[in-house]
Symmetry: C2
């Protein structure tokens, strides 16, 4: 005897495909949908289909976009390009309201162990943009992990000969942390990158 009736079992199966969602959570989600009104369920399903239909990649920066070119590329001057790994990094930086240049999304970082080389991520697009001649500074905002550092170093090696100012986000101890709880790597970096007061 199967435990779930087919439509519910099928929906639980679909929800389990989401990251970090196990059977129990998927079951809670499915019951929530069962208890939604017809209209709510339709809006939910439409939002899923709509994302597939209307989300494209910006042909300039590689970020998600509704049109061919994203709003950021359309409306901002491109003297400063911030290079990130994923579209979600753009969201994280945009939330700060601090940066008003444009982005370049690599869609990955160089990782030989996973078989991802420089040609597998969107580096060529970045070089083309820089060749346009308008760019003054490229900020490498890849993650502070091995792959992110390697990618930043690699791209920096390509851009510096072109006379571009390549910078990297500062690493160090996070604001609000007690020194004794800071991880060793960040603390070590904080020493190396110390500033004159």
């Amino acid at each position: 005897m199967k435990v779930y009736i087919e439509p519910i079992g099928r929906l639980i199966n679909e929800f389990s495909k989401l990251p970090g969602v196990g059977t129990k959570t998927a079951q809670r989600f499915a019951y929530k949908v069962v208890n939604m009104s017809e209209k709510e369920a339709k809006e939910f399903a439409d939002a899923i289909l709509n994302v597939k239909k209307n989300v494209h990649y910006c042909t300039i920066c590689g970020n998600f976009s509704e049109g061919e070119v994203c709003d950021i590329c359309k409306n901002r001057q491109d003297k400063t390009i911030c290079v990130v790994k994923d579209p979600k990094d753009v969201v994280a930086i945009e939330k700060l309201n601090e940066f008003n240049g444009v982005y370049h999304v690599l869609h990955g970082t160089i990782s030989p162990i996973d078989g991802i080389g420089p040609n597998d991520i969107n580096i060529k697009g970045l070089l083309n943009r820089v060749a346009g001649g308008n760019v003054e500074e490229v900020i490498m905002a890849t993650n502070p992990d091995v792959e992110g550092e390697a990618t930043a170093m690699y791209i920096s090696g390509l851009l510096k000969p072109l006379g571009i100012n390549v910078t990297r986000l500062a690493h160090g101890i996070p604001i609000g942390t007690d020194l004794e709880y800071a991880d060793e790597v960040s603390l070590a970096r904080a020493f190396v990158d110390r500033k004159t007061l």
Copy 2:
């Protein structure tokens, strides 16, 4: 400047309606959908719509059902009825493969503080089934909380005069727990309900 483009913002908003899902998790889910193939996204959306279209309540027991009467009510003898609060309790019990009677889903428990009285849950349906004359035992499997206990007591008061054997799931210390870690209420119940060896 809005942080998300409209289709993604809309999907994040939909995912945030699921129980226990905040903006960060909803964002992860939305990006997962963006990276799905067209076919996968369609299957996901279809599963949601399908649940609303094909899940009904069994007219006998109140559990979820594809047809008018659920598979359990169709295929099992109804001498023993297990009374539960929610359809998900049926799933929990079915997973045991121990019980082979039928169920009755109350869709709630009596809770005066929330304004839920005996007439707001599916007690009348239970009385009708019992009046059919076939039922020998009713197992009260409502949750072991105040509302669940009150509901069990209330229904038991209605059924006993009809000569029905009304039972309640055993409470006590969970299997595998150390006595010192068992909660006091369960430990106290384990003493009261102790069995002769």
